[in-house]
């Protein structure tokens, strides 16, 4: 019988990084080393601990990383609590890659890019950011606006400081919701900060974060003169199969698992507001 996508492969956790009080980044390798499978930026994988549950997570590492995959996961429910309790060496099941991806080789190529992320919303965008950094000549200006509740909640803060902010070809703007000791950067919500920064409307925007942040960010971008065809986001709804058959992650007639998770806002506009 042919392979069935519902029967997962096995991977092993080879590194765990505590990024924030409630976010850990897990490095996953195939049992024989290397990656379990290849992916494109924005694609997802179903991770499971048999007996606990299975869930869809965006692959936060860039495909240009040839050694391993990474998943930044917020401790939120039953499965993620279990995942957070894992030690290095724990095996998990993994299947994928699922869904479409950010059009890094087509629509985004040659464009000035503006990444806007809030909290754990950086996870899917980090894959694109590092893909763009590794293929820097193919893209124009790169600006990253990233905000979180506090300094401690900025995911991948070390990579942001050591690599992204040190990169002369990238502009990074960080913000936190409230003033905090030891923080001399910007304070305020992401949507307002974007408006203050007043980015050029030539840019193509990739936004991900809590639904309320996305909503206000999009409204702010429109005020600045951006159109919906310039703005991409990535969605998340409950999934079981990951291949458009189990029937629950649809927005209108589109399944987030296979038609998404990446949508342009003009595409979302044609769908019911049920997410």
């Amino acid at each position: 019988m042919n392979n069935d996508t519902l029967i997962p492969l096995v991977g092993v956790i080879t590194d765990i990084r505590q990024d924030t009080p409630d976010v850990k980044t897990f490095r996953v390798n195939a049992l024989e080393g290397g990656k379990v499978f290849e992916h494109m930026p924005g694609q997802c994988a179903m991770l499971s601990i048999p007996g606990v549950g299975e869930g869809m997570f965006s692959i936060t590492s860039s495909p240009t990383n040839k050694e391993f995959m990474e998943f930044s996961i917020k401790k939120c429910g039953c499965l993620t609590t279990w995942l957070h309790a894992m030690d290095v060496g724990q095996q998990i099941t993994i299947r994928g890659p699922y869904g479409n991806h950010f059009p890094v080789e087509t629509e985004l190529k040659g464009k000035d890019l503006l990444f806007i992320a809030g909290g754990i919303g950086l996870a899917p965008l980090r894959s694109v950011i590092n893909y763009v950094r590794d293929n820097r000549a193919n893209y124009g200006d790169v600006q990253i606006v990233y905000g979180s509740r506090s300094k401690d909640d900025l995911v991948d803060y070390k990579e942001i400081i050591d690599e992204w902010m040190a990169d002369p070809n990238i502009q990074v703007n960080l913000t936190i919701d409230n003033p905090q000791e030891g923080w001399d950067g910007h304070v305020g919500f992401v949507p307002n900060y974007v408006k203050e920064l007043n980015p050029s409307t030539n840019k193509t925007v990739l936004v991900c974060g809590p639904p309320i942040m996305i909503k206000f960010t999009l409204a702010g971008l429109k005020e600045l003169g951006f159109t919906e065809t310039q703005v991409y986001t990535t969605m998340e709804l409950r999934m079981k199969c990951a291949v458009g058959k189990c029937g629950r992650c649809n927005i209108g007639n589109k399944y987030v698992c296979k038609d998404g998770p990446v949508f342009r806002f003009d595409q979302l506009d044609e769908l019911p507001d049920e997410y």
């Binding site: 019988m1 042919n2 392979n3 069935d4 996508t5 519902l6 029967i7 997962p8 492969l9 096995v10 048999p50 007996g51 606990v52 549950g53 299975e54 939120c76 429910g77 039953c78 993620t80 030690d87 060496g89 724990q90 095996q91 998990i92 099941t93 998340e236 709804l237 409950r238 079981k240 199969c241 291949v243 458009g244 058959k245 189990c246 029937g247 629950r248 992650c249 649809n250 927005i251 209108g252 007639n253 044609e270 769908l271 019911p272 049920e274 997410y275």
Partner: protein, 339 residues
């Protein structure tokens, strides 16, 4: 057309079941019918349709997808799939036969669901033409001819004989395998019965139900209709409609710890249930209105939008007779009709 006389039908069942598993609709004590594995002497139901649809044969209510052995930090995945045995379902009605082609569009689309395909490949669907449609029937609304059902082979009764017609190669192979029990028969009486049945269909209460107001192009119009509030007001969210529905195919995947390893199951789920879309961080369909709307939008708008206009309903009428609050797709279609 090849036929067998009605008094020889059980001899035929004995012959088929000697070679492969045979399922036929059988009357239960309460008078309602269900599919059962044929055993000698069992009589086929004369009723119109079974309480549950025939989807179980290809998409069972519960099935084991995979097993896992957990050993410390290690996981072993065990592929428990086995090639299905050949089987025959005899007496499937036209509506249920069409439901299989609808389920095919879901489960046989890439990536192919091997569990479903395995059963589909090994199952032969022998349909039975309807002669006594019920008041809840509206299959013709979806372009189904109950007097000439789909399926691999179709069977037609003129009261005294059963006539056999192949619809495809698998059906022809089935008829060839029993041809020594069949003989040529005159179909004149049969054609009159078919004509009579078509006339009855035209006079049924739901005969004029139309799909003209539905389809993918009316997505936003129907989604934002104000009528959903009233239509869904009494919905209990019991999920009965989804369970008896031959085309409802939403499923859940759950793990069960046997104490000696983990078994992963797939089971029917229902978009009518409150936790269907519930995640740790929220729920995209929080109210019964949203869940109710999802079910009918899927059948009347989303499914046709993705499948060249084909609707996700076959007009079998099961939800009409089973819903505890007497809400159903017919009432929804009439309420949302664009005049």
């Amino acid at each position: 057309m090849l036929k067998i006389s009605a008094d020889k039908l059980n001899d035929l069942f004995d012959a088929i079941s000697a070679k492969q598993t045979l399922y036929i609709p059988v009357d239960r004590e309460a008078g309602s019918a269900e599919y059962k594995k044929y055993e000698s002497g069992m009589e086929m139901s004369r009723g119109l349709n079974t309480v549950r649809s025939a989807k179980d044969f290809f998409f069972p209510q519960t099935e084991n997808l995979a097993d896992f052995k957990m050993n410390g930090k290690n996981i072993e995945v065990i592929d428990i799939r086995e090639e299905s045995e050949d089987f025959v379902i005899f007496g499937v009605r036209a509506c249920d036969a069409r439901s299989f082609t609808i389920l095919d569009k879901v489960f046989l689309a890439e990536p192919v669901d091997s569990y479903y395909k395995n059963r589909r490949d090994h199952g032969t669907v022998v349909t039975m033409a309807c002669t006594r449609p019920a008041e809840t029937c509206f299959c013709t609304t979806f372009g189904i001819d109950p007097t000439a059902p789909e399926g691999d082979a179709a069977v037609f009764s003129d009261g005294e004989n059963y006539f056999f017609k192949a619809n495809n190669e698998k059906g022809q192979a089935f008829i060839d395998s029993i041809s020594d029990m069949l003989q040529d028969g005159d179909t004149e009486k049969l054609e009159k019965i078919q004509e009579n049945t078509r006339e009855i269909m035209k006079k049924l209460p739901l005969a004029n139900l139309s799909t003209d107001s539905f389809g993918g192009e009316r997505l936003m119009e129907h989604f934002s209709s104000e009528k959903w509030a009233e239509l869904s007001e009494s919905c209990l969210g019991c999920g009965t409609c989804t369970f008896v529905c031959p085309t409802c195919q939403c499923y859940d995947i759950r793990d069960f710890d046997t104490g000696n390893g983990i078994k992963r199951f797939r089971c029917w789920d229902s978009c009518m249930y409150s936790d269907f879309t519930k995640m740790a961080h929220g729920n995209s369909r929080n109210s019964q209105l949203e869940r109710f709307r999802q079910r009918f939008m899927h059948k009347l708008v989303y499914f046709p939008a993705n499948n060249n206009g084909e609707f996700g309903c076959v007009g079998c009428g099961r939800c009409l007779s089973k819903c505890p609050i007497s809400m159903n797709i017919v009432k929804v279609m009439k309420a949302l009709e664009v005049k």
